[in-house]
Point group: C2
């Protein structure tokens, strides 16, 4: 049986817990796992990231890839050795092992959907 | 190397071709593969569906699952033997082999992101 997660007005979802990062470099960034193992999804995870104005996600690279759709706000996106300024509806594919970072530029928070392969088993 | 697909004002994306369905039951529905094999993505596909007001996607079931986020418009969603009315930001997980259909209700077209596993090899 599938599942429904309705969005609440506050930018949270029914049945989805927000996770915060401990890394002070990315203070205030929230991750919401909209679809994942808790729903029975085994092939991919669909997450939503909320980045406060002026904040950014970790500048990082790792073996798994990301499929990103910007939902709201303006993003300065580091992708390898390039930097792109993107807005709502724009799409980014981050290849495995490619350096990447999403920064909220301007006065608005940034929100984006980020698809990833299943988490590796511990 | 990853890739960027900027959204054009017209609801299309740079570097993404829209596909139409031949099935007359779903006239006018467009699929845009935002991220997939053309980008090097091997673990999942990220698609965007545009459904004109009053139209719907196929009522179908198949072995692969779907992760859906409503982007705009109102949707009447068939999920198994349930029907839900959903709006922007709401999330649906369609399990494998679960009956599903997305219908645009009201005066607006419906737009949603739909994540799926890689296409099976022919």
């Amino acid at each position: 049986m599938g599942s429904i997660h309705r969005r609440r007005a506050a930018g949270s979802w029914e049945g989805v817990a927000a996770a915060r990062y401990d890394d002070p470099a990315v203070a205030g960034v929230e991750k919401h796992e909209l679809i994942g193992p808790a729903d029975g999804a085994r092939s991919y995870r669909v997450r939503y990231f909320h980045v406060p104005a002026g904040a950014r996600t970790a500048l990082e690279r790792h073996p798994h890839d990301h499929g990103v759709v910007i939902e709201h706000g303006r993003a300065r996106v580091t992708l390898g050795d390039e930097v792109h300024e993107l807005g709502p509806g724009d799409v980014v594919y981050v290849e495995g092992d490619e350096l990447h970072c999403f920064e909220a530029v301007g006065d608005e928070p940034l929100g984006f959907i980020c698809v990833a392969p299943p988490a590796r088993r511990a």
